[in-house]
Amino acid sequence: MRVFWEMTKRSFQRYLTYRAAALAGLATNFFFGLLRMAILLALYGERPQVAGLTVADVITYSALSQALIGYLSIFGWYDLMNSVYTGEIGSDLLKPLGLMRFWLAQDVGRALVNFLLRGVLIMVAFELVVDLVYPQTAVSWLHVLCTLILGWLVSFGFRFLVNLASFWSPDARGMGRFAFLSATFFCGQLMPIRFFPDWLQGWLQFTPFPAMFNTTIEIYLGTLTGTAVYLALLNQLLWAIGLLLVGQWVLQTAVRRLVIQGG
Protein backbone atom coordinates (compact mmCIF):
# COMPACT_ATOMS: atom_id res chain seq x y z
CA MET A 1 0.00 0.00 0.00
CA ARG A 2 2.86 2.31 0.88
CA VAL A 3 4.46 1.62 -2.49
CA PHE A 4 1.18 2.36 -4.24
CA TRP A 5 0.85 5.66 -2.44
CA GLU A 6 4.44 6.65 -3.19
CA MET A 7 3.94 5.87 -6.87
CA THR A 8 0.69 7.79 -7.00
CA LYS A 9 2.28 10.78 -5.33
CA ARG A 10 5.07 10.89 -7.89
CA SER A 11 2.78 10.34 -10.81
CA PHE A 12 0.70 13.27 -9.57
CA GLN A 13 3.83 15.37 -9.37
CA ARG A 14 4.88 14.23 -12.80
CA TYR A 15 1.59 15.12 -14.48
CA LEU A 16 1.64 18.47 -12.72
CA THR A 17 4.79 19.24 -14.71
CA TYR A 18 2.60 19.08 -17.83
CA ARG A 19 0.47 21.97 -16.51
CA ALA A 20 0.73 23.93 -19.73
CA ALA A 21 -0.55 20.98 -21.78
CA ALA A 22 -3.41 20.45 -19.33
CA LEU A 23 -4.42 24.09 -19.52
CA ALA A 24 -4.26 24.08 -23.30
CA GLY A 25 -6.48 21.00 -23.24
CA LEU A 26 -8.80 22.87 -20.92
CA ALA A 27 -9.22 25.72 -23.37
CA THR A 28 -10.03 23.31 -26.19
CA ASN A 29 -12.50 21.36 -24.09
CA PHE A 30 -14.16 24.59 -22.98
CA PHE A 31 -14.81 25.92 -26.48
CA PHE A 32 -15.99 22.55 -27.74
CA GLY A 33 -18.33 22.48 -24.78
CA LEU A 34 -19.88 25.80 -25.80
CA LEU A 35 -20.25 24.55 -29.34
CA ARG A 36 -21.99 21.37 -28.21
CA MET A 37 -24.32 23.35 -25.97
CA ALA A 38 -25.30 25.54 -28.92
CA ILE A 39 -26.04 22.49 -31.08
CA LEU A 40 -28.08 20.75 -28.37
CA LEU A 41 -30.06 23.95 -27.72
CA ALA A 42 -30.83 24.26 -31.42
CA LEU A 43 -32.04 20.64 -31.43
CA TYR A 44 -34.23 21.26 -28.40
CA GLY A 45 -35.91 24.24 -30.11
CA GLU A 46 -39.10 24.97 -28.23
CA ARG A 47 -39.24 21.62 -26.44
CA PRO A 48 -38.66 21.93 -22.68
CA GLN A 49 -37.55 18.33 -22.28
CA VAL A 50 -36.18 15.48 -24.40
CA ALA A 51 -35.93 11.88 -23.12
CA GLY A 52 -36.25 13.08 -19.55
CA LEU A 53 -33.54 15.72 -19.80
CA THR A 54 -34.43 19.40 -19.40
CA VAL A 55 -32.56 22.20 -21.14
CA ALA A 56 -30.61 22.92 -17.93
CA ASP A 57 -29.79 19.18 -17.64
CA VAL A 58 -28.48 18.98 -21.15
CA ILE A 59 -26.35 22.10 -20.70
CA THR A 60 -24.88 20.60 -17.55
CA TYR A 61 -24.41 17.30 -19.36
CA SER A 62 -22.36 19.06 -22.05
CA ALA A 63 -20.23 20.77 -19.43
CA LEU A 64 -19.60 17.51 -17.56
CA SER A 65 -18.82 15.53 -20.66
CA GLN A 66 -16.14 18.07 -21.54
CA ALA A 67 -14.85 18.29 -17.96
CA LEU A 68 -14.31 14.54 -17.63
CA ILE A 69 -12.45 13.95 -20.92
CA GLY A 70 -9.05 14.33 -19.28
CA TYR A 71 -9.98 12.59 -16.05
CA LEU A 72 -11.26 9.47 -17.78
CA SER A 73 -8.85 9.64 -20.75
CA ILE A 74 -11.89 8.93 -22.89
CA PHE A 75 -10.25 9.80 -26.20
CA GLY A 76 -7.42 7.36 -25.68
CA TRP A 77 -4.48 6.33 -23.57
CA TYR A 78 -1.47 4.59 -25.07
CA ASP A 79 1.17 4.75 -22.32
CA LEU A 80 1.35 1.02 -21.65
CA MET A 81 1.35 0.29 -25.38
CA ASN A 82 4.23 2.69 -25.89
CA SER A 83 6.23 1.11 -23.11
CA VAL A 84 5.80 -2.26 -24.81
CA TYR A 85 6.94 -0.89 -28.18
CA THR A 86 9.91 1.06 -26.81
CA GLY A 87 10.93 -1.85 -24.61
CA GLU A 88 10.64 0.19 -21.43
CA ILE A 89 8.43 -2.58 -20.14
CA GLY A 90 11.67 -4.54 -19.74
CA SER A 91 12.91 -2.17 -17.04
CA ASP A 92 9.54 -2.34 -15.33
CA LEU A 93 9.69 -6.13 -15.33
CA LEU A 94 13.11 -5.92 -13.71
CA LYS A 95 11.57 -4.27 -10.67
CA PRO A 96 9.80 -6.22 -7.94
CA LEU A 97 6.42 -4.76 -8.83
CA GLY A 98 3.07 -5.97 -10.02
CA LEU A 99 2.67 -4.35 -13.44
CA MET A 100 -1.03 -3.68 -13.08
CA ARG A 101 -0.61 -2.06 -9.70
CA PHE A 102 2.20 0.02 -11.12
CA TRP A 103 0.03 1.35 -13.96
CA LEU A 104 -3.00 1.76 -11.76
CA ALA A 105 -1.02 3.89 -9.29
CA GLN A 106 0.26 6.03 -12.14
CA ASP A 107 -3.24 6.45 -13.50
CA VAL A 108 -4.52 7.66 -10.12
CA GLY A 109 -2.00 10.48 -10.30
CA ARG A 110 -2.87 11.22 -13.91
CA ALA A 111 -6.60 11.21 -13.23
CA LEU A 112 -6.28 13.44 -10.16
CA VAL A 113 -4.23 16.07 -11.96
CA ASN A 114 -6.68 16.06 -14.86
CA PHE A 115 -9.65 16.18 -12.54
CA LEU A 116 -8.32 19.19 -10.70
CA LEU A 117 -6.71 21.11 -13.54
CA ARG A 118 -9.11 20.33 -16.35
CA GLY A 119 -12.25 19.06 -14.62
CA VAL A 120 -12.82 21.48 -11.79
CA LEU A 121 -11.48 24.53 -13.60
CA ILE A 122 -13.61 23.92 -16.67
CA MET A 123 -16.76 23.59 -14.54
CA VAL A 124 -15.93 26.91 -12.90
CA ALA A 125 -15.49 28.46 -16.34
CA PHE A 126 -18.83 27.08 -17.56
CA GLU A 127 -20.53 28.27 -14.37
CA LEU A 128 -19.50 31.79 -15.29
CA VAL A 129 -21.17 31.71 -18.70
CA VAL A 130 -24.12 29.30 -18.49
CA ASP A 131 -26.56 28.02 -15.87
CA LEU A 132 -25.55 24.63 -14.48
CA VAL A 133 -27.50 22.35 -12.18
CA TYR A 134 -25.96 20.76 -9.09
CA PRO A 135 -26.85 17.84 -6.81
CA GLN A 136 -28.97 19.17 -3.99
CA THR A 137 -28.00 17.17 -0.92
CA ALA A 138 -24.79 16.04 0.73
CA VAL A 139 -25.85 12.43 0.13
CA SER A 140 -26.20 13.09 -3.62
CA TRP A 141 -22.73 14.61 -3.66
CA LEU A 142 -21.45 11.48 -1.96
CA HIS A 143 -23.12 9.39 -4.68
CA VAL A 144 -21.46 11.54 -7.31
CA LEU A 145 -18.08 11.05 -5.68
CA CYS A 146 -18.57 7.25 -5.68
CA THR A 147 -19.73 7.10 -9.27
CA LEU A 148 -16.84 9.30 -10.40
CA ILE A 149 -14.29 7.00 -8.79
CA LEU A 150 -15.97 3.85 -10.09
CA GLY A 151 -16.31 5.33 -13.57
CA TRP A 152 -12.59 6.04 -13.60
CA LEU A 153 -11.84 2.45 -12.49
CA VAL A 154 -13.99 1.03 -15.28
CA SER A 155 -12.30 3.30 -17.81
CA PHE A 156 -8.88 2.23 -16.51
CA GLY A 157 -9.81 -1.44 -16.77
CA PHE A 158 -10.94 -0.93 -20.34
CA ARG A 159 -7.93 1.16 -21.37
CA PHE A 160 -5.55 -1.32 -19.77
CA LEU A 161 -7.08 -4.22 -21.71
CA VAL A 162 -6.94 -2.32 -25.00
CA ASN A 163 -3.28 -1.53 -24.40
CA LEU A 164 -2.47 -5.17 -23.70
CA ALA A 165 -3.17 -5.89 -27.37
CA SER A 166 0.31 -4.50 -28.01
CA PHE A 167 1.79 -7.73 -26.66
CA TRP A 168 0.27 -9.61 -29.58
CA SER A 169 0.28 -7.11 -32.40
CA PRO A 170 3.28 -5.19 -33.70
CA ASP A 171 1.05 -2.17 -34.16
CA ALA A 172 -2.01 -2.14 -31.96
CA ARG A 173 -2.43 1.62 -32.19
CA GLY A 174 -5.00 1.44 -34.96
CA MET A 175 -7.00 -1.08 -33.03
CA GLY A 176 -6.67 1.15 -29.99
CA ARG A 177 -7.99 4.16 -31.88
CA PHE A 178 -11.00 2.14 -32.99
CA ALA A 179 -11.64 0.89 -29.46
CA PHE A 180 -11.41 4.36 -27.92
CA LEU A 181 -13.60 5.89 -30.60
CA SER A 182 -16.25 3.24 -29.93
CA ALA A 183 -15.96 3.85 -26.20
CA THR A 184 -16.37 7.60 -26.68
CA PHE A 185 -19.59 7.01 -28.53
CA PHE A 186 -21.05 4.18 -26.46
CA CYS A 187 -20.23 5.61 -23.03
CA GLY A 188 -22.43 8.60 -23.76
CA GLN A 189 -19.71 11.18 -24.09
CA LEU A 190 -20.88 12.44 -27.52
CA MET A 191 -24.59 12.20 -26.78
CA PRO A 192 -26.50 11.06 -23.67
CA ILE A 193 -27.37 7.37 -23.96
CA ARG A 194 -31.00 8.34 -23.31
CA PHE A 195 -31.05 9.84 -26.81
CA PHE A 196 -30.06 6.51 -28.40
CA PRO A 197 -32.70 4.21 -29.92
CA ASP A 198 -34.14 1.74 -27.41
CA TRP A 199 -32.63 -1.35 -28.98
CA LEU A 200 -29.13 0.18 -28.75
CA GLN A 201 -29.69 1.23 -25.12
CA GLY A 202 -30.71 -2.36 -24.46
CA TRP A 203 -27.56 -3.74 -26.00
CA LEU A 204 -25.31 -1.28 -24.22
CA GLN A 205 -26.41 -2.66 -20.84
CA PHE A 206 -24.27 -5.65 -21.63
CA THR A 207 -21.14 -3.57 -22.20
CA PRO A 208 -18.96 -1.68 -19.72
CA PHE A 209 -19.24 1.58 -21.71
CA PRO A 210 -22.20 3.23 -19.90
CA ALA A 211 -20.53 2.48 -16.55
CA MET A 212 -17.54 4.63 -17.54
CA PHE A 213 -19.43 7.84 -18.02
CA ASN A 214 -23.18 7.71 -18.55
CA THR A 215 -23.91 6.38 -15.05
CA THR A 216 -22.02 9.31 -13.57
CA ILE A 217 -24.13 11.74 -15.60
CA GLU A 218 -27.40 10.09 -14.60
CA ILE A 219 -26.51 10.14 -10.92
CA TYR A 220 -25.24 13.72 -11.07
CA LEU A 221 -28.32 15.03 -12.86
CA GLY A 222 -30.61 13.10 -10.53
CA THR A 223 -32.33 11.22 -13.37
CA LEU A 224 -31.64 8.12 -11.31
CA THR A 225 -33.15 8.18 -7.85
CA GLY A 226 -33.62 5.98 -4.80
CA THR A 227 -32.45 2.38 -5.08
CA ALA A 228 -31.73 2.88 -8.78
CA VAL A 229 -28.68 4.92 -7.71
CA TYR A 230 -27.32 2.08 -5.62
CA LEU A 231 -28.00 -0.47 -8.34
CA ALA A 232 -26.16 1.73 -10.81
CA LEU A 233 -23.19 2.04 -8.43
CA LEU A 234 -23.19 -1.73 -7.91
CA ASN A 235 -23.27 -2.22 -11.66
CA GLN A 236 -20.23 0.06 -12.01
CA LEU A 237 -18.41 -1.76 -9.24
CA LEU A 238 -19.01 -5.14 -10.86
CA TRP A 239 -17.77 -3.89 -14.23
CA ALA A 240 -14.68 -2.44 -12.58
CA ILE A 241 -13.87 -5.66 -10.75
CA GLY A 242 -14.61 -7.76 -13.83
CA LEU A 243 -12.43 -5.67 -16.15
CA LEU A 244 -9.55 -5.56 -13.67
CA LEU A 245 -9.65 -9.32 -13.17
CA VAL A 246 -9.71 -9.99 -16.89
CA GLY A 247 -6.93 -7.41 -17.32
CA GLN A 248 -4.79 -9.15 -14.71
CA TRP A 249 -5.33 -12.51 -16.36
CA VAL A 250 -4.58 -11.23 -19.86
CA LEU A 251 -1.51 -9.44 -18.52
CA GLN A 252 -0.18 -12.67 -17.03
CA THR A 253 -0.73 -14.46 -20.30
CA ALA A 254 0.95 -11.60 -22.15
CA VAL A 255 4.01 -11.61 -19.90
CA ARG A 256 4.29 -15.38 -20.09
CA ARG A 257 4.17 -15.13 -23.87
CA LEU A 258 6.77 -12.38 -23.82
CA VAL A 259 9.23 -14.36 -21.70
CA ILE A 260 8.80 -17.50 -23.76
CA GLN A 261 8.75 -16.10 -27.28
CA GLY A 262 10.83 -12.99 -26.78
CA GLY A 263 9.89 -9.41 -27.58
Binding site: R2, M7, R10, R14, T17, S91, L94, V259, I260, G262
Partner: protein
Amino acid sequence: MITVQNLQKHFKLNKQYRGAWGSVRTLFSREYEVVKAVDDISFEVARGELVGYLGPNGAGKSTTIKMLTGLLVPSGGELAVNGRLPWRDRQAYVARIGAVFGQRTTLWWDLPVIESLELLQHIYHVPNGRFRQNLADFETMLELKPFLNTPVRSLSLGQRMRADLCAALLHDPDLLFLDEPTIGLDVVAKERIRQFIRHVNRERGTTVLLTTHDLSDVQKLCDRVLIIDRGKLLYDGSLDALQTRFGGRRELVVDLAEPYSDVSVAGATVVARENGRVTYQFTREEIGASELIGRLSQRFRIQDLAVREPDIEATVRRIYEERLLEN
Protein backbone atom coordinates in the same frame (compact mmCIF):
# COMPACT_ATOMS: atom_id res chain seq x y z
CA MET B 1 26.49 -17.51 -8.05
CA ILE B 2 25.56 -18.05 -11.67
CA THR B 3 25.43 -21.56 -13.08
CA VAL B 4 24.69 -21.96 -16.76
CA GLN B 5 24.66 -25.38 -18.37
CA ASN B 6 23.99 -26.18 -22.01
CA LEU B 7 21.80 -23.11 -22.12
CA GLN B 8 19.79 -22.66 -25.29
CA LYS B 9 17.36 -20.13 -26.63
CA HIS B 10 15.76 -20.77 -29.97
CA PHE B 11 13.37 -18.39 -31.65
CA LYS B 12 10.89 -19.53 -34.23
CA LEU B 13 10.55 -17.14 -37.12
CA ASN B 14 7.86 -17.65 -39.68
CA LYS B 15 9.41 -18.42 -43.00
CA GLN B 16 9.17 -15.47 -45.36
CA TYR B 17 8.64 -16.14 -49.04
CA ARG B 18 9.63 -13.60 -51.65
CA GLY B 19 7.50 -11.68 -54.04
CA ALA B 20 3.80 -10.81 -54.08
CA TRP B 21 2.66 -14.42 -54.22
CA GLY B 22 5.24 -15.19 -51.58
CA SER B 23 3.71 -12.80 -49.09
CA VAL B 24 0.39 -14.58 -49.44
CA ARG B 25 2.16 -17.88 -48.93
CA THR B 26 3.88 -16.46 -45.86
CA LEU B 27 0.48 -15.68 -44.39
CA PHE B 28 -0.71 -19.26 -44.65
CA SER B 29 2.55 -21.05 -44.21
CA ARG B 30 3.09 -23.08 -41.07
CA GLU B 31 6.75 -23.41 -41.83
CA TYR B 32 9.23 -21.57 -39.75
CA GLU B 33 12.91 -21.18 -39.34
CA VAL B 34 14.57 -21.78 -36.01
CA VAL B 35 17.11 -19.18 -35.04
CA LYS B 36 19.51 -20.38 -32.41
CA ALA B 37 20.23 -17.14 -30.58
CA VAL B 38 21.97 -18.98 -27.76
CA ASP B 39 23.19 -22.43 -28.59
CA ASP B 40 24.54 -24.66 -25.88
CA ILE B 41 26.42 -22.32 -23.59
CA SER B 42 27.91 -23.35 -20.25
CA PHE B 43 29.77 -21.27 -17.69
CA GLU B 44 29.87 -20.45 -14.02
CA VAL B 45 30.42 -17.20 -12.26
CA ALA B 46 31.51 -17.23 -8.62
CA ARG B 47 30.36 -14.74 -6.00
CA GLY B 48 32.39 -11.53 -6.15
CA GLU B 49 33.66 -11.96 -9.70
CA LEU B 50 33.68 -9.17 -12.26
CA VAL B 51 33.21 -10.81 -15.63
CA GLY B 52 33.15 -9.22 -19.05
CA TYR B 53 30.72 -10.62 -21.59
CA LEU B 54 31.80 -9.85 -25.13
CA GLY B 55 30.64 -10.55 -28.60
CA PRO B 56 29.78 -8.80 -31.85
CA ASN B 57 26.27 -7.49 -32.45
CA GLY B 58 23.75 -10.28 -32.78
CA ALA B 59 26.02 -12.77 -31.05
CA GLY B 60 23.46 -13.69 -28.40
CA LYS B 61 24.70 -11.46 -25.58
CA SER B 62 21.46 -9.73 -24.80
CA THR B 63 19.49 -12.94 -25.16
CA THR B 64 21.72 -14.44 -22.47
CA ILE B 65 21.31 -11.38 -20.25
CA LYS B 66 17.55 -11.50 -20.72
CA MET B 67 17.53 -15.11 -19.59
CA LEU B 68 19.74 -14.31 -16.62
CA THR B 69 17.46 -11.45 -15.57
CA GLY B 70 14.33 -13.56 -15.95
CA LEU B 71 12.96 -11.70 -18.97
CA LEU B 72 13.24 -14.77 -21.19
CA VAL B 73 12.69 -18.44 -20.50
CA PRO B 74 15.40 -20.72 -21.95
CA SER B 75 14.44 -23.25 -24.62
CA GLY B 76 16.79 -25.78 -23.11
CA GLY B 77 19.59 -26.35 -20.66
CA GLU B 78 19.90 -25.17 -17.12
CA LEU B 79 20.31 -21.79 -15.59
CA ALA B 80 20.36 -20.90 -11.91
CA VAL B 81 21.33 -17.73 -10.12
CA ASN B 82 21.85 -18.09 -6.39
CA GLY B 83 20.11 -21.43 -6.72
CA ARG B 84 17.00 -19.72 -8.12
CA LEU B 85 15.44 -20.00 -11.54
CA PRO B 86 15.19 -16.35 -12.68
CA TRP B 87 11.84 -16.59 -14.49
CA ARG B 88 10.13 -18.78 -11.91
CA ASP B 89 9.20 -16.13 -9.39
CA ARG B 90 9.97 -12.87 -11.15
CA GLN B 91 9.23 -10.40 -8.38
CA ALA B 92 11.19 -12.27 -5.71
CA TYR B 93 14.13 -12.82 -8.05
CA VAL B 94 14.50 -9.30 -9.43
CA ALA B 95 14.44 -7.88 -5.89
CA ARG B 96 17.95 -9.34 -5.45
CA ILE B 97 19.53 -8.17 -8.71
CA GLY B 98 20.38 -4.80 -10.18
CA ALA B 99 20.70 -3.79 -13.80
CA VAL B 100 21.88 -0.79 -15.78
CA PHE B 101 21.20 -0.65 -19.47
CA GLY B 102 23.26 2.21 -20.82
CA GLN B 103 20.85 2.91 -23.64
CA ARG B 104 17.86 3.53 -21.43
CA THR B 105 17.09 4.78 -17.98
CA THR B 106 15.07 3.27 -15.17
CA LEU B 107 14.53 6.70 -13.65
CA TRP B 108 11.39 8.73 -14.12
CA TRP B 109 11.99 11.15 -16.91
CA ASP B 110 10.06 14.13 -15.58
CA LEU B 111 10.96 13.87 -11.91
CA PRO B 112 14.01 15.04 -9.95
CA VAL B 113 16.57 12.25 -9.50
CA ILE B 114 16.03 12.06 -5.75
CA GLU B 115 12.32 11.37 -6.24
CA SER B 116 13.07 8.33 -8.38
CA LEU B 117 15.64 7.08 -5.90
CA GLU B 118 13.22 7.43 -2.98
CA LEU B 119 10.52 5.65 -4.94
CA LEU B 120 12.95 2.79 -5.56
CA GLN B 121 13.53 2.61 -1.81
CA HIS B 122 9.84 1.81 -1.37
CA ILE B 123 9.64 -0.51 -4.36
CA TYR B 124 12.55 -2.60 -3.03
CA HIS B 125 11.53 -2.16 0.61
CA VAL B 126 14.94 -0.88 1.64
CA PRO B 127 15.01 0.01 5.36
CA ASN B 128 15.40 3.72 5.94
CA GLY B 129 18.79 3.58 7.66
CA ARG B 130 20.29 1.37 4.99
CA PHE B 131 18.89 3.58 2.26
CA ARG B 132 20.32 6.78 3.78
CA GLN B 133 23.68 5.09 4.26
CA ASN B 134 23.84 3.79 0.70
CA LEU B 135 22.65 7.06 -0.75
CA ALA B 136 25.26 8.97 1.23
CA ASP B 137 28.00 6.63 -0.04
CA PHE B 138 26.97 6.74 -3.67
CA GLU B 139 26.35 10.48 -3.52
CA THR B 140 30.00 11.05 -2.67
CA MET B 141 31.48 8.46 -4.99
CA LEU B 142 29.38 9.38 -8.01
CA GLU B 143 29.21 13.08 -7.17
CA LEU B 144 25.45 13.08 -7.44
CA LYS B 145 24.81 16.02 -5.16
CA PRO B 146 24.83 18.83 -7.76
CA PHE B 147 21.99 17.26 -9.74
CA LEU B 148 19.92 15.29 -7.22
CA ASN B 149 17.12 17.81 -7.56
CA THR B 150 17.30 18.10 -11.35
CA PRO B 151 14.68 16.33 -13.47
CA VAL B 152 16.17 13.36 -15.26
CA ARG B 153 15.35 14.78 -18.69
CA SER B 154 17.70 17.72 -18.04
CA LEU B 155 20.70 15.59 -17.07
CA SER B 156 23.74 15.11 -19.27
CA LEU B 157 24.39 11.54 -20.41
CA GLY B 158 27.20 11.11 -17.88
CA GLN B 159 25.08 12.39 -15.02
CA ARG B 160 22.18 10.17 -16.03
CA MET B 161 24.41 7.13 -16.13
CA ARG B 162 25.73 7.88 -12.65
CA ALA B 163 22.21 8.32 -11.35
CA ASP B 164 21.20 5.03 -12.96
CA LEU B 165 24.14 3.22 -11.37
CA CYS B 166 23.12 4.57 -8.00
CA ALA B 167 19.51 3.52 -8.63
CA ALA B 168 20.57 -0.03 -9.49
CA LEU B 169 22.56 -0.47 -6.28
CA LEU B 170 20.46 1.13 -3.55
CA HIS B 171 18.90 -2.18 -2.58
CA ASP B 172 22.28 -3.94 -2.20
CA PRO B 173 21.80 -6.45 -5.01
CA ASP B 174 23.96 -9.60 -4.97
CA LEU B 175 24.37 -9.48 -8.71
CA LEU B 176 24.67 -6.48 -11.00
CA PHE B 177 24.14 -6.55 -14.76
CA LEU B 178 25.77 -3.72 -16.68
CA ASP B 179 25.05 -3.32 -20.35
CA GLU B 180 27.21 -0.71 -22.05
CA PRO B 181 27.51 1.47 -18.95
CA THR B 182 30.03 3.82 -20.57
CA ILE B 183 28.47 4.16 -24.02
CA GLY B 184 28.75 7.65 -25.43
CA LEU B 185 30.68 9.05 -22.49
CA ASP B 186 33.84 11.15 -22.56
CA VAL B 187 37.14 9.80 -21.23
CA VAL B 188 36.84 11.40 -17.80
CA ALA B 189 33.27 10.24 -17.28
CA LYS B 190 34.18 6.72 -18.42
CA GLU B 191 37.03 6.56 -15.97
CA ARG B 192 34.84 7.73 -13.10
CA ILE B 193 32.28 5.06 -13.85
CA ARG B 194 34.94 2.38 -14.10
CA GLN B 195 36.35 3.36 -10.73
CA PHE B 196 32.91 3.14 -9.24
CA ILE B 197 32.25 -0.29 -10.72
CA ARG B 198 35.56 -1.53 -9.39
CA HIS B 199 34.75 -0.12 -5.97
CA VAL B 200 31.32 -1.75 -5.86
CA ASN B 201 32.82 -5.07 -6.87
CA ARG B 202 35.72 -4.99 -4.40
CA GLU B 203 34.29 -3.23 -1.38
CA ARG B 204 30.71 -4.41 -1.50
CA GLY B 205 31.43 -7.82 -2.97
CA THR B 206 28.79 -7.35 -5.65
CA THR B 207 29.14 -9.83 -8.47
CA VAL B 208 29.18 -7.95 -11.79
CA LEU B 209 28.47 -9.14 -15.30
CA LEU B 210 29.55 -6.47 -17.75
CA THR B 211 28.47 -6.42 -21.37
CA THR B 212 30.23 -3.88 -23.51
CA HIS B 213 31.80 -3.12 -26.85
CA ASP B 214 34.34 -0.87 -25.19
CA LEU B 215 37.34 -3.12 -24.68
CA SER B 216 39.12 -0.65 -22.47
CA ASP B 217 36.27 -1.12 -19.97
CA VAL B 218 36.96 -4.81 -19.98
CA GLN B 219 40.71 -4.40 -19.97
CA LYS B 220 40.60 -2.14 -16.93
CA LEU B 221 37.93 -3.96 -14.99
CA CYS B 222 37.64 -7.63 -15.76
CA ASP B 223 39.95 -10.46 -14.78
CA ARG B 224 37.89 -12.79 -16.84
CA VAL B 225 36.04 -12.49 -20.13
CA LEU B 226 33.52 -14.64 -21.90
CA ILE B 227 33.38 -14.28 -25.65
CA ILE B 228 30.30 -15.38 -27.50
CA ASP B 229 29.50 -15.38 -31.21
CA ARG B 230 26.63 -16.87 -33.15
CA GLY B 231 25.17 -18.26 -29.96
CA LYS B 232 28.26 -20.24 -29.00
CA LEU B 233 30.65 -19.57 -26.19
CA LEU B 234 34.06 -19.23 -27.81
CA TYR B 235 36.31 -18.23 -25.00
CA ASP B 236 36.36 -18.19 -21.23
CA GLY B 237 39.51 -16.85 -19.61
CA SER B 238 41.64 -13.78 -19.09
CA LEU B 239 42.08 -11.07 -21.66
CA ASP B 240 45.86 -11.30 -21.30
CA ALA B 241 45.87 -14.97 -22.19
CA LEU B 242 43.78 -14.15 -25.22
CA GLN B 243 46.25 -11.48 -26.17
CA THR B 244 49.24 -13.81 -25.88
CA ARG B 245 47.45 -16.42 -27.94
CA PHE B 246 46.19 -14.30 -30.75
CA GLY B 247 47.56 -10.86 -30.06
CA GLY B 248 49.76 -8.90 -32.37
CA ARG B 249 53.35 -8.48 -31.42
CA ARG B 250 54.75 -5.71 -29.32
CA GLU B 251 56.55 -2.93 -31.11
CA LEU B 252 59.57 -0.85 -30.23
CA VAL B 253 60.00 2.41 -32.10
CA VAL B 254 63.53 3.78 -31.97
CA ASP B 255 64.87 7.12 -33.16
CA LEU B 256 68.54 6.63 -33.89
CA ALA B 257 70.94 9.51 -33.30
CA GLU B 258 73.20 8.57 -36.24
CA PRO B 259 72.60 6.77 -39.54
CA TYR B 260 73.50 3.07 -39.48
CA SER B 261 73.48 0.76 -42.46
CA ASP B 262 72.58 -2.39 -40.54
CA VAL B 263 69.96 -1.91 -37.81
CA SER B 264 69.03 -5.55 -37.22
CA VAL B 265 69.12 -7.01 -33.72
CA ALA B 266 68.68 -10.52 -32.34
CA GLY B 267 65.22 -11.32 -30.94
CA ALA B 268 63.31 -8.72 -32.94
CA THR B 269 62.49 -8.07 -36.56
CA VAL B 270 62.62 -4.76 -38.35
CA VAL B 271 59.23 -3.97 -39.81
CA ALA B 272 59.66 -0.34 -40.84
CA ARG B 273 62.46 2.06 -41.38
CA GLU B 274 62.32 5.66 -42.47
CA ASN B 275 65.05 8.23 -41.98
CA GLY B 276 66.35 7.68 -38.47
CA ARG B 277 63.24 5.92 -37.17
CA VAL B 278 63.20 2.12 -36.96
CA THR B 279 60.29 -0.04 -35.83
CA TYR B 280 61.02 -3.49 -34.37
CA GLN B 281 58.51 -6.19 -33.56
CA PHE B 282 59.04 -8.74 -30.82
CA THR B 283 57.07 -11.13 -28.65
CA ARG B 284 56.91 -11.28 -24.90
CA GLU B 285 58.05 -14.89 -24.80
CA GLU B 286 61.18 -14.31 -26.83
CA ILE B 287 62.54 -11.17 -25.28
CA GLY B 288 61.59 -8.57 -22.70
CA ALA B 289 61.41 -4.91 -23.65
CA SER B 290 64.24 -3.89 -21.31
CA GLU B 291 66.55 -6.56 -22.65
CA LEU B 292 65.85 -5.54 -26.21
CA ILE B 293 66.52 -1.92 -25.36
CA GLY B 294 69.73 -2.97 -23.67
CA ARG B 295 70.93 -4.81 -26.77
CA LEU B 296 70.05 -1.87 -28.99
CA SER B 297 71.73 0.72 -26.84
CA GLN B 298 74.93 -1.31 -26.83
CA ARG B 299 75.10 -1.14 -30.60
CA PHE B 300 73.54 2.21 -31.47
CA ARG B 301 73.28 5.70 -30.12
CA ILE B 302 69.63 6.18 -29.40
CA GLN B 303 67.87 9.51 -29.29
CA ASP B 304 64.42 8.39 -28.24
CA LEU B 305 62.30 5.26 -28.02
CA ALA B 306 58.79 4.04 -27.29
CA VAL B 307 57.24 0.62 -26.65
CA ARG B 308 53.85 0.01 -28.23
CA GLU B 309 51.71 -2.63 -26.63
CA PRO B 310 49.66 -4.70 -29.04
CA ASP B 311 46.20 -3.33 -29.50
CA ILE B 312 43.52 -5.43 -27.82
CA GLU B 313 40.87 -3.90 -30.04
CA ALA B 314 42.71 -5.21 -33.08
CA THR B 315 43.08 -8.65 -31.53
CA VAL B 316 39.43 -8.96 -30.72
CA ARG B 317 38.48 -7.61 -34.12
CA ARG B 318 40.61 -10.32 -35.69
CA ILE B 319 38.96 -12.91 -33.48
CA TYR B 320 35.51 -11.83 -34.62
CA GLU B 321 36.40 -11.43 -38.27
CA GLU B 322 38.64 -14.38 -38.81
CA ARG B 323 36.79 -16.63 -36.35
CA LEU B 324 40.07 -17.52 -34.71
CA LEU B 325 38.38 -19.25 -31.83
CA GLU B 326 36.15 -21.52 -33.84
CA ASN B 327 37.55 -24.94 -34.62
